[in-house]
Homo-oligomer: 528 residues x 2
């Protein structure tokens, strides 16, 4: 069975999507996740293009990937420049990445109209750059830009570029549908023509401008391509790149190719959600295979059909990709889940008990107020404990106040910190004592955090170890602008373990406060 | 040149999308728009399934469509029921629609497992129903449910259902990939087999569960199908139906088939936006051909390429589908994008000028501070204007202060509004006057918004029309918890047009303030 290699470019081409701006840390986390999932190559960025990508490669070099090889992306040497002295080529070497993907033009009209150099010089640029990087011990893939458009315009030239690359030592010839407008038949025909003459593996890099990126990728694989490039969730410039979350299950479950093992495939939905979280984009519920709605059934006809036969209205078993079927009745947590979770944290609730009933109603009420517990189990666990009769909170809020001041500044210029003042005053009861503390912080939530810790540390010195490692804000009703209901998710860590808490309110300071208090209370509770 | 018929089912299958609920009026407006656009058939709903659909057909009968024929959808008679007395069939006749599409099973396993009747009875159900409706003067299309899965499981039976339908008088045999999991090769092969034996036109109805609905539809057309069913924007159950907004331009511009005239095709983006508005869904900016981002260019490489050749990074001329190219300003972008964008708003900058250079540096500096202009064009435009020598801001901030208080509440319980107090005090200079105003709001940003408007409305009453329609918060450096740098994006509208502004700071109140001020300043600027 042919082995198909998966090449992920979420961190480079995916980051071209309008609205995505990954931090270096986002990129490191995603790379880690991609490696665990089992992709073969992780394209990290374009060294030299911006400082962020340089930092990424420095820090990624310290990671030890289990499955994947790290790839640096860049272009061939400039026209009329010696390859050794080309800054871009030098940046690729300095990135330290073991694999380099070089973008080079393989379309005659593109060379003449856009690159504005001679057809011969373009071929020399491709060959010199590959030969030089190979001489430095790198694996080199050619990213044959505009290959399919070029193949239609001047077949011979496009093939000439590829054979020059192969002679220069390229390890893979990746055919790009850069403008994303090709049709599957065209892609299949061109790939067949290349595979017939190429002595090295052939890859496919498709874009979704005609809503055909997945089909074009599958057509290329049928025609002999063995490396598939794409991004998680199909993120990418314009209409996006080929969506690996749709391609991987199609290759494995529908075409039966060797691409990734079953156990990893069952984490596909998890990978998809992780990356959308890192990009701070709401997961697209309508994504094939991995979307929240991908196996949801609204029509009564379908729901009753499914009750008779699981494949009545499902093209695959949702579990194979880590998804599950839903019947569109209610979104709210069912009684069973709540009992189940309570048991997991050692709170015995009998399904029909009054406690179970009131807890269920409480969860529904809070969810209707914007709370969401599926990514905030610590807050949910607190809810369960608080529902118990004997619960005593480690501290209780009496009052808080926050003052934010901005002085003598034109509003149109981003400020330096010292020009903003954020101060919080907190009054809490701890072990019967009333603590009244104040602190100044870097923003209002930070000020609240510091003031609260001032009040609690004398009683709970262990709190010193707790760090808030992530802070996410989502607006729930987008219709009402600054009056929107907001949800704050906080991730905390004591170095050893992480926990997640949630707060929701029309007031984002209060939403943040609720999540903050849950974080500290949860930590104190679990130390007992 | 073969004529391909377009059959729109946005009002029936499209309405199955999670979150869509059309009113009768919505449906009438959409039908009107589809007719003007020039589709051949408009499937209005399922008479008898719900009162809404009955009312729709009553009222739509009064419309005089210029191009389209109205279609009622329903299922064949029930098993063991005489066709004349089948309530569902009667509702189809009472709808008064000149065309009826009947869904009937064409897959042996579906008949046995789900319908739970005999293979023969299923064929009789299909044939009786068609014959009866034909005898009442209706055109009848068979919607061959699960055809492609059935063709794989028991080819002969699936073809038997079709020939029975044809003998009974069906005017078109529509092959459905009901579960949406088929591959283009499978669809092409099955359609070829049907077209080889069928004496009537063949249609295709695809779903997008494998992200292949458009490819499967094109494969069916290549194999001889002449009726294409789909929905505007690909709305539909689960992952959606075949997207007519991607299929129509592919058939016309890429395959060269006769489907719709150029002038109508140039209103495709308008149709797409109209339907998303009617569905009360934000238009998906990443939709091929019609999306706001479909021809947006972020990478500097691409922008400079486009300035040399319009097809350098575009697969079609955006104007052909009523769309237009956009240049995104971002850290990934170079000088070319910024010059380009400045020109788009009528500020001429020569590429090598000092102004261009300092503006470029300013953008890079602000982006390194967390600002991001690609989805905040209004803020970028202000940046350009402010860079100009003669710019005078319509108002200037002197000070602001925000106080948020929470009193006497256990922090662990989500609060009612009255228990939180948010108050803002603003001092601004307007036309040389200093305005000092205060307001209480539903959260700190809302309070700032109200206080600022209090100060400005006496001078700029037109501001009353400005509403903040969306408010997004993104935490940039996730490593530092509550000290994170945050970016706020605000969407504003005056009813007629929308604009987007950005603010960034370690203090989310300040980030919100900066975006808020830009929104109002941009509005005032553009009124002059």
């Amino acid at each position: 069975m042919t082995r198909i290699e998966i090449y992920d470019t979420t961190l480079r081409d995916g980051a071209q999507r309008e609205g995505i701006s990954f931090s270096v840390l986002d990129k490191l986390h995603i790379a880690q996740k991609l490696d665990e999932f089992g992709v073969d190559y992780i394209e990290g960025g374009w060294p030299g293009a911006n400082p962020k990508d340089n930092e990424f490669f420095q820090r990624a070099a310290l990671n030890h990937f289990k499955n994947a090889r790290l790839v640096a992306f860049g272009s061939t040497r400039k026209a009329g420049v010696a390859v050794e002295s080309d800054v871009n080529i030098r940046a690729l070497l300095e990135s330290g990445a073991p694999v380099v993907t070089l973008v080079g033009k393989s379309s005659a009209p593109q060379v003449e109209k856009v690159l504005a150099t001679s057809l011969e010089e373009n071929i020399a640029m491709v060959a010199d750059s590959i030969r030089y990087l190979k001489s430095k011990g790198r694996a080199v893939f050619l990213d044959a830009e505009h290959f399919f458009d070029g193949f239609k315009a001047d077949k011979d030239y496009s093939l000439k570029v590829l054979s020059a690359a192969e002679k220069a030592g390229a390890d893979c010839l990746v055919l790009c549908d850069t403008n994303g407008g090709s049709l599957p038949e065209e892609v299949g025909e061109a790939v067949r023509a290349v595979v017939a003459v190429a002595g090295v593996p052939v890859g496919i890099h498709a874009h979704n401008d005609a809503e055909l990126a997945v089909a074009n990728t599958l057509a290329a694989v049928r025609a002999g391509a063995t490396q598939v490039q794409g991004t998680v969730n199909g993120y990418g410039e314009r209409c996006g790149n080929a969506n690996l979350c749709s391609i991987i299950p199609a290759l494995k479950l529908k075409i039966g190719l060797d691409v990734i093992d079953d156990q990893r495939l069952s984490r596909l939905a998890d990978l998809s959600h992780f990356v959308s979280e890192a990009a701070n984009l709401a997961p697209d519920p309508f994504l094939p295979y991995v979307g929240h709605s991908a196996f949801s059934h609204k029509a009564g006809l379908h729901v009753s059909g499914l009750s008779r036969w699981v494949f009545a209205y499902q093209h695959i078993d949702p579990a194979a990709v880590g998804n599950k079927p839903r019947t569109l009745v209610s979104e709210l947590a069912g009684r069973a889940n709540i009992i189940q979770r309570a048991q997991e944290i050692g709170v015995a609730l009998s399904p029909r008990s009054a406690e179970a009933q009131s807890l269920l109603e409480r969860v529904k009420q809070l969810e209707s107020m914007g709370f969401q517990y599926e990514n905030a189990e610590a807050s949910f666990d607190l809810l369960v404990h608080r529902a118990g009769p004997g619960y005593r909170a480690p501290f209780e809020l009496i009052d808080f106040m926050v003052v934010i001041e901005k002085r003598r500044r034109r509003p149109t210029i981003a400020c330096e910190e010292e020009e903003m003042m954020s101060e919080a005053i907190v009054k809490v009861r701890v072990n019967g004592e009333v603590m009244h503390t104040a602190a100044e912080g870097n923003g209002p939530v930070n000020a609240l955090d510091l003031a609260l810790r001032k009040a609690l540390l004398p009683y709970y010195p262990a709190l010193d170890a707790v760090k808030l490692t992530d802070f996410k804000v989502r607006v729930l009703e987008e219709s009402t602008g600054t009056e929107s209901l907001v949800r704050v998710l906080i991730e905390s860590s004591n170095g050893a373990e992480e926990w997640h808490t949630v707060g929701a309110s029309a007031n984002l300071i209060e939403a943040s406060w609720l999540a903050l208090v849950d974080s500290l209370e949860y930590f104190l509770l679990n130390r007992k």
